[in-house]
Structures are given as C-alpha cells and as structure tokens.
C-alpha cells in the first residue's frame, strides 16, 4: 500500500494531470452554461498538453543546437525536441478549436440571447 503511494509521489506531474483532466471533464458534464462547458473542454486539452510537456523534461539539458562542430557530442546535455514540437502543435490546435467554439457560442447567444443549454434546447422545440 505505502510502496504504491511512494511510487505515486515520485511522479507528482501525473497526479496533477489526472486532477486537471478529471476536473475539466466534470465541468464539461455538469455545467449547463455553454461557456463553462468550453472552459472544461479547454482544461481537458490543457491537461493533456501539460502531460506531454512533463514527458519532455530533462534536468540539466539545454536546447538541441550544436554550439561547436568539433567538440564531442554529449547526448545527455540536450533535450529531445520532439515532445516540445508536439506540444506546440497541440497548443495551436487547441487555440483553433477554442476559436471555432467561441464563434459558435457567440452565434448562439446572438440568436437566442442566452447561454444556458436547457433554455436554448427549450426554444429549439
């Protein structure tokens, strides 16, 4: 039991990820306000991005640019750029999604004058 707890505490980043992800999912499911749903959605996306960022962390490493072509290359001195690039692209995708979703919500607000999901569904019928 305590060994497991110890193993968990060695990876606090995973615990934070799980909390953020579940929190976002909870907000998405529970709230009836469309903007709050979007906040939950963005939290889910951000938690995944956070997880990807923590995968790329390497202590004591620097940007993967060779400063000298003659000095011997020490692999452990450089961070792997791939998780960072993946994260960057995922952030761009997330921002684009948020933009589209806010535009949709704005269109709905202009049409129905409310952001409450139940209210809108009632008017649709």
């Amino acid at each position: 039991m305590f060994e497991h707890l110890d193993a968990w505490l060695h990876r606090p980043n995973f615990i934070v990820f799980v909390i953020l992800f579940s929190w976002g999912l909870y907000i998405m499911v529970v709230h009836h306000n469309l903007v709050k749903k979007l906040i939950g959605m963005y939290l889910v996306q951000t938690s995944v991005i956070f997880y990807l960022v923590t995968l790329g962390v390497k202590s004591g490493a620097t940007v993967p640019v060779l400063l000298s072509t003659t000095a011997p290359i020490r692999v452990e001195a450089y961070a792997n750029p791939l998780p960072h690039v993946v994260t960057l692209t995922a952030i761009v995708v997330g921002v684009a999604t948020l933009g589209v979703s806010l535009a949709l919500v704005a269109a709905m607000y202009r049409k129905y004058g409310t952001l409450d999901e139940d209210e809108i569904l009632k008017r649709l019928e």
Binding site: L82, V86, T89, A107, L124
Partner: protein
C-alpha cells in the same frame, strides 16, 4: 516525379483553400467552379497514384528529405491509394451537388464556405497518407474543425448540433492525443513503422495498453461507435443538405481508416491484452454497433436521421470485417468501407434532392414522391438494394466477403450480427417504400421546384457507382487482397 504524388494530392486542395479568399474577394461566383476544378485535378492525380502504386509498389514519402524516424513520413501503399481515389471522387460528386443545395442565406460567406470544404478534403487526405501518429491527430483536427464550422454554417438548430459535435469531437481528439503521449512515453518514437517494431513486444506494459485504449476511445468518438455516437445523428440531420454527404460518406470512414492503420500496422493483428485478442474486442464492438445502429434507424421519423443511423450500423459492419483477422475478412471490410462511403453519399444526395424538390423532411412527407419523380424513386431502389445487400450491387459483395471471412474464421456471432443488421436494414427501407408506394395520402397539389441538373447528376453518378462497384468487385477485391493487406495477416 511520380513519387511526389502523395504530396501533390494533398497540396492541391490545401493551396486552393488558401487562394480561395483571394479569388472570392472580387468574384464569389468563381468559388464553386474553382473548387470543382481543383478536386477534379486531385481525382486525376489520385487515379495516377493508384496506377503508380500498382506498378511499382508503395511510396514512402519523406518530407523535405528528412528520413524517418526523424523526419515526417507519409505512407502511400495499396490501402491508402485506393481509399484516396474513393475520397477524391466522392468529394468531386459532393462538390457538384453542393452548388445548388448550399444554404441560400450565405451571401458573401460563400467564400469561406468553399474554403472550409477544401480544408476538410485536405485534412482527410492527410489522415489517409499519414505515417506518423501525431500527424493523424493534426489532420483529424484540421478536418474536424472544418466539419464543426460547416455543420453550423446555416445557423438555427444546426448551431447546437455543431456545438455538441465540437465538444465531443474535441474530447475524443484529446483522448487520442493522450494515447499518443502514452505510446511516446513507452517507446520514444511516433513513426508508425518504427512503433510497429517496438509495440508488439511491449503489449504487457500498462502504458501501452492504456495508450491503446485511450486512442481507440478517441477514434471511436470520431467514427461514432455505438455507445459514443451521440453527436452524429443531430449533426448530420441539421447540417446543410450540401454538407451531409461529405460528413456521412467520408469523415467517419477516414477515422475508421486511421483506426485500421494503428490496429494492423502499429499494434499488430495478433496483439493480445491479458490473453484477449484486441481484434476480437473490436469485432464484438462492431457487431454491437451494426445491430443497435440498424435498430435505432428503424425507430426514426426523419429521413436524414434514419440514414445517419444506417451509416452508424454500417461502420459496425466494416469493423466486423476487419476485426475477423483473416485476409478475406480484411479485404471484405475495406471493400465494404468503399461501398459504404458511396452509399452514404448517394443516400444523402437523394435526401437533399427530395428536400429541394418536394420539401421532404420526415418519412410521412415521402408520399409526395409517389408518381412524381421516377428517377428519384429508381435511385432510392438501387441504394436500398445495396444497403440491404442484394446482387448485383456493391453492398452485396462487401457483405458476402465479410460473411465468408467470418465463416472461415468460425466467428458465428459475427455472421449472426451481419444477418440481423441486414434484416433490420431491410425493415427500415420497407418503411420508406411503404410511404412512397402504398400511402393513401394525396400526392397532388404539392408545389415542387424542378431539381437542377447538378443534383440529378450527383444522384445518378452515385447510383451508377453502386452498380459499378458490384460489377467490378472482382478486380477491386483482387487488388485489395494483393496489395492492401497489412503485414502479418
């Protein structure tokens, strides 16, 4: 030169999408012909691509010359090339259909509308060719974002459907990305060929199993598997008549193709979690989807919604086919995927035409078709034959090979699921035809607008394609069995 074809096929719609606002600024009327011309060029390129792949085997395209696994790679093998032809030809017919059926309220916004359609097509092209898990995520989101906007473009009820589609779709994409992160953490690579060598021996690792589950749930939302299908019927029903064919025939099938890629090329057909074969689980999920989807279709009152549920059920049939795990089943499943794309497009063209000409929305309205438009009823009969699976249509041969594969592998549950879903499909088409042929409601006195030529062309071409797929099922199956099979099957 010919090895640049995959990039060319992608760049045609993508660059045209970027140029569209510049062209459309002064002449919004040019957007439709321009989009058709571009997708026509794309279709020619993808047919050339199939010929090249047939002649000289698969093309592995490394972007900017960076060799994989460091660079980004596109895989243009038999499977990708034949699906690409299906996609580009269907996009072409759907675009021809899109001109007169697009919402008339768009006005100047017709320019971003066609831009989004081309972005949707290029995003799906990217998913088909992607040889890298993260690439699939990016293109999934490119096509999904254009899809959300296109569903909501007409306003009104469609806005809420688009919003739900967006929330669920983004959640699915986040789960998929999380799965990709797990795979990366376990192996340190994202390239499919590279992963394909490392993943099979790691199938006992919890990270890999968890990643696999997250990825499959994410893609399952995108392709509307039965417990995860909630967004689909509303989105397809409320989307503009011009957009439903794109969504119904292509978007879910392409997500399914990404699933096939990951399942067979990365995880491997023989993968097991705790001695349960992964493919078996997928096959059972497919059986559930096939039966429940067809049953739900039977209970619907709106024509488009009924077709949408029919499409969900057919996703299940394709999954049964590929999930059987022998060459006949796999090729049959992929052949059925091509058929289903054509059938769904045809059904939604017809729904759009009936809506345009007679204002048909619910099944009760279908009585207006009686004695009015023989071409429409005839086309519907061909589509129904294919959906149910009667020779000589393509749907029959697809189901035939799926059942044959299931019998070879002695998966009798799968056979039962195919048969039950066939009977239910027959039942809901009987419901439709009963309205058309037997209704006592007077069919006269309905103001009808003659459908434009381009709608008739698209309905006719799609119906002809259904028959042609049946007549040429032998060479297509031969090609699939010869050059589209995954390694180790």
């Amino acid at each position: 030169m010919s090895h640049h074809l995959p990039a060319l096929i992608f760049l045609l719609p993508f660059l045209a999408a970027i140029c569209m606002p510049m062209v459309g600024l002064k002449n919004p009327g040019w957007c439709w012909p321009m989009a058709i011309a571009v997708v026509f060029a794309m279709s020619v390129a993808s047919i050339a691509n199939v010929v090249v792949v047939m002649d000289s085997g698969e093309i592995r395209y490394a972007f900017s010359g960076w060799a994989p696994p460091i660079g980004i790679e596109w895989v243009d093998d038999g499977l990708a090339s034949i699906i690409m032809v299906t996609l580009s030809l269907l996009a072409l017919i759907s675009l021809i259909n899109a001109g007169p059926t697009s919402p008339s309220t768009l006005g100047q916004r017709i320019v971003p509308y066609y831009t989004l359609i081309l972005l949707l097509v290029s995003g799906m092209t990217g998913i088909i060719f992607a040889g890298d898990l993260f690439n699939i995520f990016v293109f999934l989101e490119v096509s999904a974002l254009s899809g959300y906007a296109l569903v909501g473009v007409a306003g009104g009820k469609a806005l809420m459907s688009a919003f739900r589609y967006l929330i669920l779709g983004t959640f699915g994409a986040s789960l998929y990305l999380l799965g990709v992160g797990y795979f990366y953490a376990a192996t340190g690579t994202l390239n499919m060929a590279d992963l394909g060598q490392r993943i099979p021996e790691l199938m006992t690792s919890k990270a890999v199993v968890g990643g696999l589950i997250f990825m499959f749930i994410g893609l399952g939302i995108k392709m509307a598997l039965i417990p995860l299908h909630g967004w689909l019927p509303d989105a397809y029903t409320h989307a503009p008549e011009a957009i439903s064919p794109f969504l119904a025939s292509l978007v879910t099938k392409v997500a399914l193709l990404a699933w096939i890629r990951i399942m067979f090329w990365v995880v491997g057909a023989n993968a097991e979690i705790e001695h349960v074969p992964v493919l078996f689980l997928l096959e059972e999920l497919g059986a559930l989807t096939a039966v429940v989807g067809a049953f739900l279709a039977l209970t619907q009152h709106e024509v488009k919604r009924m077709f949408a549920y029919g499409g969900i059920s057919h996703i299940g049939l394709i999954l049964i086919g590929v999930g059987i795990g022998n060459p006949t089943g796999f090729a049959g499943g992929v052949f059925y995927l091509i058929n289903d794309a054509v059938m769904q497009a045809a059904l939604f063209f017809l729904a759009g035409a009936a809506m345009y000409q007679y204002g048909v929305r619910s099944i009760e309205d279908l009585g207006r078709l009686r004695g009015q438009a023989p071409w429409m009823t005839g086309a519907l009969i061909i589509m129904a034959m294919s959906m149910v699976g009667l020779p000589p249509t393509g749907g029959f041969f697809g189901k035939w090979y799926i059942v044959l594969g299931a019998l070879e592998a002695q998966h009798y549950l799968a056979v039962a699921a195919v048969i039950i879903s066939t009977i239910l499909t027959l039942a809901f088409f009987i419901k439709l035809f009963e309205r058309i042929f037997r209704d006592s409601q007077p069919s006269s006195g309905i103001i009808s607008v003659e459908a434009p030529f381009s709608i008739k062309v698209s309905v006719g071409t799609a119906s002809a394609a259904i028959i042609l797929l049946g007549l040429f099922s032998d060479p297509i199956m031969g090609f699939l069995l010869e050059s589209a099979l995954p390694p180790g099957l």
